[in-house]
């Protein structure tokens, strides 16, 4: 149960986990010990309450962290920073878009021959495929980083004075 709870805590925003994660786990363990002494029924009620509590708490914390409003969309906080991989990908996408615009301008300026429209279509498909490939690559990098826990490691504080 403790492992499940620790896993569910990952649903909270990273800043929230840094601030309260260990403390929440400690309180959970003490409450679990108390529930265990009360019997099986109390334990089942405790598990249900904790899982539902952590799920709703994580949802609320995520919405609060990104200041989400259905009528205004997302309003990211000033402390939010894109990871470097995202910045690199965004730059690559920008370069691809500029290249596509330049190519398109060259083709339009050339002539209105029917074969040029085929070239425009091919160029569009090529740029679309490039963007898809870049997006997939970026997602794969972020997914791999998340799985390997490198981002979490970068957030580890070695002593309390660093907080």
């Amino acid at each position: 149960m403790r492992r499940v709870y620790r896993g569910l805590l990952r649903l909270y925003p990273a800043g929230y986990i840094r601030e309260y994660g260990e403390e929440m786990l400690s309180v959970f363990c003490r409450a679990q010990e108390a529930a265990r002494r009360r019997g099986l029924k109390a334990q089942a009620v405790f598990c249900f309450r904790e899982i539902s509590g952590v799920l709703t708490g994580a949802l609320h914390a995520q919405l609060h962290y990104y200041d989400w409003n259905p009528f205004r969309g997302f309003n990211m906080r000033s402390d939010f920073r894109f990871p470097r991989t995202t910045q690199v990908l965004m730059t690559l996408i920008l370069v691809a878009v500029i290249f596509a615009i330049k190519q398109g301008q060259a083709i339009v300026a050339d002539a209105n021959a029917p074969e040029n429209w085929t070239a425009v279509l091919l160029l569009f498909l090529w740029v679309f495929a490039l963007l898809c490939a870049l997006g997939s690559g970026g997602y794969a990098i972020l997914f791999a980083l998340r799985r390997s826990g490198l981002r979490r490691l970068s957030n580890v504080h070695t002593w309390r004075g660093q907080r």
Binding site: Y16, E19, Y20, E23, M24, S26, V27, F28, R30, A31, R49, E50, S52, G53, V54, L55, T56, G57, A58, H60, A61
Partner: protein, 107 residues
């Protein structure tokens, strides 16, 4: 300042801290005791409430050196105490109103 009525868990957390500073687990147990077992906070609900109260400046954290298991504790700020008193006054007014409007019909 937020003048909206407090939810029951938040009110009970404030009442718990009004008596004395407490750690997370101690707040949880006190809330259960105060409500005769009717309100049992999960850790997710408790820390959600604590985080909201901290962001409003109604409570504050402090570190205890001597305690080994729970170093971080929470206490009510003067602003939090004023908000709690205002909420209690609002509830007293509601109770008085309810007694005037509902009680005669029950007789």
């Amino acid at each position: 300042m937020d003048q909206s009525p407090l939810t029951e868990p938040v009110l009970l957390v404030l009442l718990s801290l009004a008596q004395q500073p407490r750690h997370g687990y101690s707040i949880m147990k006190d809330v259960e005791q105060m409500s005769d077992g009717r309100v049992m906070l999960s850790t997710g609900t408790l820390y959600g409430a604590l985080q909201r109260l901290l962001s409003r400046g109604w409570i504050e954290q402090f570190e205890e050196e001597e305690s080994s298991r729970d170093r971080r504790a929470y206490r009510l700020t003067p602003r939090g105490r004023r908000s709690l008193q205002r909420e209690v006054e609002r509830m007293k007014h509601l109770t008085k109103l309810a007694a005037l409007r509902v009680a005669p019909k029950e007789v």
